[in-house]
């Protein structure tokens, strides 16, 4: 390996790391709608939320109404720490400011039956680029992996036994 190769390797990996950081932290180019007050009605029944995905805008004052249709259900929103419990046929309410954009899982917080651990919904606070940013990181991962691969004739090829049985 020539002396310039480690330097080139560090430079390329540094550049990819920089790109990765940018993918994670750069503000979203999507316009943010003016924040407003919203009331979201969410029905809970074994073992789903209706609607399963709730979308609000960043900065919105969200009043979440949870209506339990059959048994006691709860809703815990990851990342926001919001939690409420609704008795059967009753509506529970809570209000919070959706100040963090992204995708957050809503989990039932009251054991409600066999599929309870998997009863979940999604809170989407726009502009949510979670999936886009994750996909960007995945693309960079492919590039990094391809770059890090041992060169043919280099370490890996020598380390490994013949790969195809004759």
């Amino acid at each position: 390996m020539s002396s310039s190769r480690p330097v080139r390797r560090i430079l390329v990996l540094g550049f990819l790391a920089l790109l990765g950081t940018a993918v994670l932290v750069l503000p979203s180019p999507r316009p943010t709608a003016p924040s407003r007050a919203r009331t979201i009605r969410m029905e809970a029944r074994s073992f789903e939320y209706l609607p399963a995905v709730v979308s609000v805008g960043r900065g919105d004052l969200v009043t979440l109404e949870l209506v339990a249709l059959d048994v006691v259900h709860g809703a815990h929103i990851d990342g926001y720490g919001v939690e409420l419990t609704a008795d059967p046929g009753q509506t529970a309410r809570t209000t919070f400011v959706a100040d963090r954009p992204g995708i957050f899982r809503i989990r039932c917080s009251v054991p409600c039956g066999p599929l309870h651990p998997f009863m979940s919904g999604t809170l989407r606070v726009d502009p949510s680029d979670t999936m886009l940013r994750a996909a960007g990181l995945a693309l960079l991962a492919v590039a990094a992996g391809a770059f890090l691969a041992a060169r043919p004739g280099g370490g890996m090829a020598q380390r490994s036994a013949p790969i195809v049985r004759s």
């Binding site: 994750a134 992996g145 890090l148």
Partner: protein, 451 residues
């Protein structure tokens, strides 16, 4: 490739070759298994309150997938309680070789000496996984059934044929143990070759011949080694060692892989994706169908699951390999190329299962202390934690923790795909379709877990 021999330290070798620490852990886990089966049959039918569901599918699964397999390889198999009753009956002993065992000690049928049996067992269990994961009686029946099957196989066939050829969990662990940074290997293969008696395989007064039917002198991957440490006990030259090594060193080994192993890689990768979508997606319909065993929706779900994990995902990867062969003009058959390339997908598969496990294990971990306090739902409060409320752990780490795990797995898979493509003479042209298909599968996983 750099190795660091752990057994060079006399204390470590003594610890690993002594039967008492291993037996102590085995007995503890066997007691736990009996308690799990009892709790599953007699305890609360509410999964989150039942010792069987919480300890098996949250505590054990979490430790297995997030710690044991990625960092310790097959160490779980060395203390797993499932095959113990059968093994003890077969040997007629619990500790060292003594006494006469029961059973016929037949060799496993030649036609089944491969991973197809484990692949089939995994698919079979996977079809019933939702009731198994959520209903205590199903968990108890599955585990008791595996113990009984282990006994039956041990009484007819030699050694650990059950673990080697049938156990669905063993196949899973064996595949991903290749990524682990530990291994059992021989220090000097020439010494093994010159050792005529091969006590590591035939056994001696110091220990049993390899229960996994592996000759340590030719061991190149962790897939088939149960890390039971018998070969450390029986080697008169202390030539069998436990090494720390670079993670995933086995994935650099191209030799000796069959289509059964290649299929397992893709089957488990597809299953990880399917589980993430069905169990953690926001849609209840597939979950409800998966839980309603025997109904028409379940049949539709089962058909869809089989189509996805047995046909679609392996087919997609095979298509990418075929395209790569055509683009690169590498002179290989599709089967040869699949066998050689499949290890590249092991890191992505492991990452998929780790990300999936992170997403539900941490959220449900707080169910563990209450069931430890009252394992049989008799109103006990042994640890003072019976009334502990549910609280999701690490909620602030989501969704980026599973994303980070998946991205790391994808980077590793991309790297290994490029290296294997180079070794096969296909270069970037062979690697490119593999990168595309890995990226597409990762996007599917991201969509299911955080999308």
């Amino acid at each position: 490739m750099t190795r660091y021999e752990l057994t060079q330290f006399a204390g470590v070798r003594r610890l690993l070759t002594s039967r008492w620490p291993q037996l102590g852990i085995q007995l503890l886990l066997l007691s736990g298994l009996i308690l799990v089966i009892l709790a599953g049959l007699l305890g609360s039918p509410v999964g989150n309150r039942n010792f069987a569901i919480v300890m098996v599918w949250i505590a054990w699964w979490g430790v297995l997938m997030l710690v044991a397999v990625p960092f310790l390889g097959r160490l779980w198999c060395s203390v797993c309680p499932l095959p113990l009753p059968g093994e003890w009956l077969q040997r007629g002993a619990i500790l060292g070789p003594r006494g006469r065992g029961l059973g016929r000690q037949l060799r496993w049928p030649r036609i089944f000496r491969n991973l197809w049996g484990q692949n089939g067992a995994f698919v079979l269990v996977a079809l019933f996984s939702l009731p198994v994961l959520t209903q205590p009686q199903w968990t108890a029946i599955l585990l008791a059934g595996l113990v009984l099957l282990g006994i039956a196989v041990s009484l007819v066939y030699e050694r650990r044929s059950f673990c080697r050829y049938l156990c669905p969990v063993g196949g899973f662990i064996g595949l991903y143990a290749q990524a682990a940074p530990v291994e059992v290997r021989v220090r000097d293969a020439d010494l093994c070759a010159s050792h005529k008696i091969k006590t590591c395989y035939t056994g001696s007064t110091a220990g049993y011949g390899c229960p996994w039917m592996v000759y340590p002198g030719s061991l190149t991957t962790n897939t088939y080694c149960g890390t039971c440490m018998e070969c450390l006990r029986t080697c008169p030259h202390d030539n069998v060692v436990v090494n720390l090594r670079p993670a995933g060193a086995d994935l650099n080994i191209g030799r000796g892989r069959g289509l059964d192993e290649a299929f397992k890689v893709l089957l488990l990768l597809g299953s990880g994706l399917a589980y993430a979508a069905v169990l953690l997606g926001p849609w209840n319909a597939p979950r409800a169908a998966a839980a309603a065993v025997g109904t028409t929706p379940w049949l539709v779900y089962a058909a869809g699951f089989l189509l996805f994990v047995v046909v679609l995902v392996p087919g997609l990867v095979a298509l990418a390999v075929r395209l790569g062969l055509r683009l690169s003009r590498a002179r290989l058959s599709l089967a040869q190329a699949l066998r050689a390339i499949s290890p590249a997908f092991v890191p992505l598969g492991l990452a998929a299962w780790m990300a999936f496990s992170l997403s539900f294990v941490l959220a449900n971990l707080s169910y563990v202390p209450p069931v430890l306090s009252d394992p049989l739902n008799l109103g006990w409060n042994l640890l003072g934690t019976a009334a502990m409320a549910w609280s999701p752990y690490g909620a602030g780490l989501f969704p980026w923790l599973p994303v980070a795990v998946l991205v790391a797995g994808l980077a590793w898979t991309s790297r290994r795909a490029r290296e294997i493509a180079g070794e096969l003479g296909g270069g970037v042209r062979l690697a490119f379709p593999l990168w595309v298909v890995s990226f597409v599968i990762t996007i599917g996983l991201l969509w299911a877990l955080v999308g």
